[in-house]
Amino acid sequence: MEDNKNAWWSRQIVAADIYDCFSLKAASKTGYEAVYLSADAVAECVCGLPDTEQMSAEELLWAAKRVFAFSEVPVIADIRIGLGNSTESAARLAGRMAKAGAKAVWINDVLSDKEERMIKSEEWKRRVWKVHEAIAMYPCILICTTGTRTQGMEHAMERCSQAASCGADIVGIEGMDLAEEARRLSEAVKAPKVWTEWNADHVTVQELEDLGFSLVMDCHSVKGALEGMQLFGERTMADGNTVYHDEHDYDGMLPTRSYYDLFEFYKEWIPLERGFMETAGKVVKG
């Protein structure tokens, strides 16, 4: 089961954030070879919550299981600190994500974004190890990132080293935006690395690859979806009809004007249904 667990990131991957099957389809159609199910985005868009601290593990799993079942590209499950305070609950959630089809589980050490509270170092190491154990039987890798950059790069880099020594396949520091920081991390930590929020104006993905960043997270879907919905919603409200929507050609990005043509479900599901009926018809006729 573990044979090919590393194949999909054997070269650098830029992964888009997603939160449902629309965002998944948009990302794969745009050319992304992997995606990450963003806990923040699921909380905001699916659950209508201001942050992940109010979201339950079951709510995240609800979205995750459906996305995993639909996806044709590897999906990374971002579970933050585990959506619970205990290491055991984090490990259980990670294991359930891996069992459901996540190709990677991504955890961090941030107890509260608002209060910038992190779990203690000893607990961090234990949590990484427990999560590593929980997913070990599945074709799933472990990504561990730290939110301790505000406490200094030395401290954050130490957290990365701890995670790598406890079973993390990929490590990273959240909130980095300078090439110099990328170089420091690269020199200090030899394990494969992740660049968590690719919004840097000064770092190319090639530079990041040269510095050992196997994964680059590109977070754009929520803002993109909101922008597009605002545009279409406002125009339809102002016009009192759907002409703008119906005539819009996706700026040429797609050969269709219908969103459902993007999926072409009928090509798979209608023949499947028809096949069942035809088989039954033959038996009835004898």
Binding site: A63, V205, N241, F265
Partner: protein, 274 residues
């Protein structure tokens, strides 16, 4: 957070109601000025499940979505309740109760069977010579019993049943109008003729002659830049609600636009910031 009452709003004015599928689309509808939203069964299948609109979504998925949406917007939520998610009127009664508990203020119940869904029409359109995949229907009696079950489940609440018939392709407009009129006797407070039964304003006039009361115009659309109706011309015939689909395509367009830009800029070290 006090939610507005849909029935009060409809008594005052016609509403253009967009279909939505999650909290983000509901919130954006509210922010862009819409006064109510409709949870689309097709869009739930596509967005939440990655599945076709072929009756694959479940009542639990509707309840999940409805609960979360009504917790984050204060405009009323209507629900595309398909066939009531059950063959028996008793099951429909329970399911309507659950959707009301989740915060819904209107639920459509249609006369389709489990062999239903927009995917069949997409297939017919894209497959030359294919079967028409006509909507299959339950008997008029069974449908009306479901409407009665839904109406009783709504008693004492702000929620109402919208009787939706898909019978037009099989039985014609006269039968569709007759079904709607009888559904009102069962307690439905609005009616909806789908599946191509209403195309132009003349159809609105014909429907209004025998089906008196509030009606929904199903999904205003356009062809070659010309809308099939205007909101103003159907309103006098009792169509005080007109639905539309715009947020699905808007979201996909917006995400692809940003994603494409970022991919093009990936090796230049620039991207649009979140």
């Amino acid at each position: 957070m006090k939610t507005m009452i849909l029935k009060d709003m409809l008594a005052k004015e016609q509403l253009l109601v967009p279909c939505i599928y999650d909290c983000a689309s509901a919130k954006m509808a509210e922010n862009t000025g819409y006064q109510a939203v409709m949870l689309s069964g097709a869009s739930i299948s596509y967005a939440m499940d990655g599945l076709p609109d072929m009756a694959m979504a479940t009542i639990d998925e509707l309840v999940f979505a409805a609960e979360h949406i009504t917790n984050c917007v204060k405009i009323p939520l209507l629900i595309d309740g398909d066939d009531g998610y059950g063959e028996s009127p008793a099951v429909v009664y329970r399911n309507v109760k659950r959707l009301i508990q989740a915060g819904s203020q209107a639920i459509t119940i249609e006369d389709s069977t489990g062999v239903r869904g927009f995917e069949r029409r997409i297939a017919a359109k894209n497959t030359p010579g294919a079967d028409p995949f006509k909507d299959s229907l339950v008997s008029k009696e069974v449908w009306l019993a479901k409407i009665r079950a839904g109406a009783e489940a709504c008693e004492g609440t702000d929620c109402m049943i919208i009787a939706r018939t898909n019978c037009y392709p099989v039985l014609g407009l006269d039968e569709a109008i007759d079904r709607c009129a009888k559904a009102r006797e069962m307690g439905a407070q609005m009616t909806l003729i789908c599946s191509g039964g209403l195309k132009h304003v003349e159809d609105a006039r014909i429907a209004a002659e025998r089906d008196k009361g509030w009606k929904v115009w199903p999904d205003i659309v356009s062809e070659n830049g010309v809308p099939n109706i205007t909101l103003e011309e159907v309103e006098p015939y009792g169509f005080n609600m007109v639905t539309c689909h715009v947020f699905e395509k808007g979201a996909i367009y917006g995400m692809m636009r940003r994603g494409k830009h970022n991919r093009e800029e990936a090796h230049k070290g620039k991207c649009e910031k979140e």
